[in-house]
Symmetry: C2
Subunit: 247 residues, 2 copies
DNA sequence: CGAGGATTTGATGTGTATCAAACGCGGTGG
DNA sequence: CCACCGCGTTTGATACACATCAAATCCTCG
């Protein structure tokens, strides 16, 4: 029985759990081992199974339909998970930021293209190694199950966005979610860095590039955000954005 | 550490797995135990932890925000999982049909209202019992993890629908998915029973009732389906529907 | 400095929501 | 048994939000 995998599973650790543990042997970053709240024995086993990988901007880590062989933790940069339909329609299923866990799903093949947004560093685990670890440490599976459940909840949340929110509301929601993730990854504060171009945001939110652009300027005009650069957003009025999104 | 839960986890068994095992002691239906491909010991433990529950049409099984205490397997009838936003926008996150597993999520509280669509029968498991079983049989967690992964995959699939398909395509997708689920549950054939009213379909697909109605008549006009009754759909041209959805 | 691509801004069209009304059907009471 | 009522569904007319098409601007990099 093969070890059950994820696509875009976010295993970002809660900050408090990170404190007592050292970084990964390979990538010098506190990653999966930290997140899963494992014993030191388990952590060492995980870190030993890992190896480092660096991707150039735009590099392709996996293609839709390809056999899955590894799972990854992003340690620097960012990935996008892209789904293309037969007639060329594109959807960005999600983005993986530092601390996120990527590359697994219920299927034997990748469900998404996985591409590096900038120069990106990963910590890689072989599927077979993960399976062994899962058998060796049942606890690990329990932790991963919790994570999967969280991921499911957030997937339902995003469905609500796509189904029932207008473009501006989706944009506000997106910015707040991204801000929360950057905060969890240790970069709090109102200043956001968007690692992806507008087209990816559009395909993530089910909009067009033009609409994304218009929504951003609308939010700026309302004084909710500032746009100091193409890839930077400062959140000026968090409350205002939250009101919009909840609306 | 509390046992990790799901919302709308579908544990419908693959037909071949169901054969060698008997029905649940309580509800006479092959449910979770069958799905998870467990040992007989595990199955008995699960079934012993279960109890039967019957809901009248429209009955509320859980409310958004309520503390979670049980998980359920639907054995007859159907449930809808509904999410309401502050300003009254409504989304149906999913439907649970016989064989589906429901009521868990990463959170301590229910994320959705759960309501019976018709008279509905459930098999109920206490969360504490599930936690004990998970500790006792690590295998169970592995199986549930697999299921969670599958559920995540299908969630991504539905996001693609919501983000990038037009109403008719979503409708075709919905009908095919429903047909596949009824087939898995042992009712194959082109004749579909919709356990839910149009409004629920609309809120599931991010549309209005009017649009749902128009899409159905459009599919009928094209000769892809027949509508022998408000709650019945016959699939006349499966290929045609698949072409639409894939488009 | 110039070229190419990404982003923004502008003008127009269309698909779906919205508003409104008719229809069908099941249940109830006469 | 039939007439009536209420609700869900279907059908129709209209409005508008966002997509589409087109062009200007900005930014990056050679």
């Amino acid at each position: 029985m093969s070890w059950p995998p994820f696509d875009n599973l976010c295993l970002t650790p809660p900050p408090e759990a990170a404190a007592p543990l050292g970084p990964c042997l390979h990538c010098q970053v506190r990653h999966l081992s930290v997140c899963a709240v494992l014993s030191h024995e388990e952590i060492n086993a995980l870190d030993t199974a890992a190896s480092l990988q660096v991707l150039a901007p735009g590099a392709v880590l996996a293609r839709q339909g390809e056999q899955r062989r590894h799972v990854f933790t992003v340690t620097r940069g960012a990935l996008r998970l892209v789904r293309l339909s037969a007639d060329g329609r594109r959807q960005v299923a999600g983005f993986a930021l530092p601390g996120d866990f990527v590359g697994l799903s219920g299927a034997a093949a990748h469900q998404n293209d996985i591409e590096a947004l900038g120069e990106t560093e990963l910590c890689r685990f072989g599927l077979d190694a993960m399976q062994r670890l899962g058998e060796q440490f049942p606890h690990l599976r329990g932790k991963l199950l919790e994570r999967a459940c969280d991921e499911l909840d957030s997937a339902h949340e995003r469905m609500m966005s796509l189904a029932r929110m207008n473009p501006t509301e989706r944009m506000a929601d997106f910015l707040l979610t991204l801000a929360a993730r950057q905060a969890r990854a240790g970069m709090p504060g109102p200043s956001l860095v968007l690692p992806m171009p507008r087209a990816d945001i559009a395909d993530h939110l089910g909009l067009t590039v033009e609409t994304v652009s218009r929504c951003l300027t609308a939010l700026r005009t309302r004084g909710l955000i500032a746009l100091p650069g193409t890839y930077r957003v400062d959140i000026l009025d968090r409350r205002g954005l939250e009101t919009l999104k909840a609306a």
